[in-house]
Symmetry: C2
Subunit: 418 residues, 2 copies
């Protein structure tokens, strides 16, 4: 069985918009057990759309098409569809009612253009679009041998995503999938892909054939995705979960969560449960840690605020770091970062505090403290800890890696109090 994605849109061919739709769809299809064999981008032009449909029909069982629908683009695509599938447009009562209801909610008037959108090809199943006016269309087994299914969806991500998840993938699973599939992703921080692979090599080598492992690295984070396949859903799930229990024994200090967890959310939950509060004193991360924490709705419940002490003057005057430490050890030192963390905690009267001081680059490095040298301190109600890191040479990555490392250190310290 071959599956392919076709994205229609001039904006994708001039580089104005990155084709995140196709990669999101490929990821979701892959999670549901469907391997995508090809992705093609074509312009909003009759002949180009017609010929890619013809090509796809020759080689694939399932063809997912996005774009080319919507009030201003409808004409071309639907015209091509009628020609390609040898059918005609008919007025679709239910589709029109949906548009009316959607517009009532938004206080818009239904126009002739919208009425025209309710004209849909006769020989397809239409898919509801709760977030827009263009319905999806599913043409089943369209070729002479009953081989190819074509599914058309709008290109607006906000409309396409629920349609794929709620209508298309369940339909594909029902019609095409033989086996059950179960995924679970283990999140790690503070270790690179190659070191991680050495650490878990023994475990990886003993994985049964029906469970596969994928490394998904991002700056500062590596995600490990386990995928199990089999006939019995419960059995596969239990098998994957048991493998994860074994895996975690190899990486206790790097593991922080599963699937879509984020460090800033986990910390928020931990603090909220303890009714504890947090403050930050940032130098090299320049507010990025505070930004991550406050990007979470409800963070004002546990995060009181922080000081960005970018200059030594502010470290001294506002945070009360001793001039002696600054002169003797330098701003990027255990002494200074520890003072920063303790002072902000006291000053802002919180339970926990984070502090960072480092050389983000590209300038400011010395032979003793090269670019990437970073100190992080965490203060809890019980103790102060501080660690030194040597990240890389890129400013942006150094800032991001420092922030993630600091959040993970904090997570561990809050967890330790349990």
């Amino acid at each position: 069985m071959k599956t392919e994605i076709i994205s229609i849109g001039n904006e994708l061919l001039i580089g104005q918009v990155v084709n995140t739709n196709a990669s999101w769809m490929a990821e979701q299809l892959n999670l549901a057990g469907f391997w995508v064999d090809r992705i093609t981008v074509v312009p909003d032009e009759r002949e180009e759309i017609f010929s890619i449909l013809k090509e796809a029909k020759e080689r694939s069982s399932v063809v997912l098409v996005t774009g080319g629908l919507g009030p201003t683009k409808d004409d071309i695509t639907k015209d091509v569809l009628c020609r390609f599938f040898n059918t005609r447009l008919v007025f679709h009562e239910e589709a029109y009612k949906d548009v009316e209801n959607l517009f009532k909610k938004r206080n818009f008037k239904v126009t002739d253009l919208n009425r025209k959108q309710a004209e849909l090809p006769e020989n397809c199943i239409t898919l509801p679009n709760p977030n827009g006016t263009a319905r999806g269309m599913w043409f089943s087994k369209t070729d002479d041998h009953g081989k190819t299914d074509f599914i058309f969806m709008p290109g607006v991500p906000f409309e396409m995503k629920p349609m794929l998840l709620d209508s298309v993938i369940p339909g594909l699973i029902k019609n095409f999938r033989k086996k059950t599939i179960y995924h679970k992703t283990v999140l790690t921080q503070g270790i690179g892909e190659s070191f991680l692979s050495v650490l878990i090599e023994k475990w990886e080598n003993t994985l049964p054939e029906n469970i596969s492992l994928a490394y998904l690295p991002q700056p500062g984070i590596v995600r490990l995705r386990l995928t199990g396949t089999g006939d019995d859903e419960t059995k596969v799930k239990n098998q994957v979960d048991a493998e994860i229990v074994s895996l975690l024994k190899f990486i206790p200090e790097y593991f922080y969560g599963f699937d879509d967890d984020k460090l800033e959310i986990i910390i928020g939950d931990l603090l909220h449960k303890k009714s504890a509060t947090l403050a930050s004193a940032e130098s090299c991360t320049g507010g990025y840690i505070a930004h991550l924490i406050t990007s979470i709705p409800g963070s004002s419940k546990y995060y009181k605020g922080g000081i960005i002490a970018y200059s030594n003057e502010i470290k001294e005057n506002e945070l009360g770091v001793s001039r002696e430490s600054l002169v003797k050890f330098g701003a990027v030192s255990e002494e200074v970062v520890t003072e920063m963390a303790n002072r902000i905690r006291k000053k802002f009267n919180t339970d926990y505090a984070i502090a960072t001081s480092g050389i983000a680059g590209p300038d400011g490095g010395t032979p003793e403290k090269p670019v990437g040298t970073t100190w992080i301190a965490i203060v809890t109600p019980d103790k102060t800890v501080a660690f030194r890191y040597l990240f890389g040479e890129e400013r942006e990555r150094n800032i991001r890696k420092t922030a993630l490392q600091a959040l993970n250190l904090l997570r561990k310290e809050i967890g330790n109090l349990d």
Copy 2:
């Protein structure tokens, strides 16, 4: 003349990596005057690569291929190339020397694998790769009628990008382009695409036929790209520049820069030139403004630091905002944001200060102050200004829009002193 892009890589077909390579290439080609007609993604598999090359040869004059090269992937792709172009691999002395030199710089040992990478097809022109070991390959006019050029590049962006800009595009311009093309992009902040289009409608309608306009919106920012084509380079350039002078008269309060300018860079340059300093007091933006400012190398020269006053307690105790203002007007008010900006400037002893206070959402809105309500204040050596905005309902976008608006207000105030 038809141009197409082929991206080889399994990682693109499982959604692990978004195909930013293809959209970046499409943008660069478009800027150089080449319209991309199709983008195709295929897996790292012999037969799939062979058949897409065959298809592309039928329809396109220029085919750009990325991926499938590099020390571990070389075998498959080069094998296919030899078969497809009916040629054989020969040892390429210059390519090998390049790898040796690159490795010497990085203190790596050249392995047999790297030596194999210097084996390249006999009948192509090779393209230097200053950032890696896999050379590019350009096969000219390969079909029976001398119609199709195939260009192969590595998939690593860091290696592909300089190769496209330094070797491929200059070659394409020399061989294929008839006219000269000139682009200039005008950057605006603080106005949406549809309002902007109304403002500049009159100007847009008088644009000559050889100059086109593209709207490129991002959250909080709209870029306007003008593209001129013609026979005489200087003439086209002058023509576009003159149109921009007219355009700017319609949007003086929204325009902030050209092409790749960023507000945080412009502000940094302005402050640096004046030897002036800046501090920030952020509530709703939670450190994001500080993060943008400190993402610029050298920002420690003008940015002293800031306070993230997320809770009212910190606004009162650390910034010295009066309790009376907080109780009487609320934290999201002209009075409080003005006090925040003035206090941080005094406390941190800087020339300029920014302050923000708003309801980022999703909670915290009231009928009088719905989610998205935001106050921004700027203090200069001469005066204090404060403005109220009503952004949208999405937390992330509200934070971003507030930060960009604050930076642009600051830019105007610094500029005013000139």
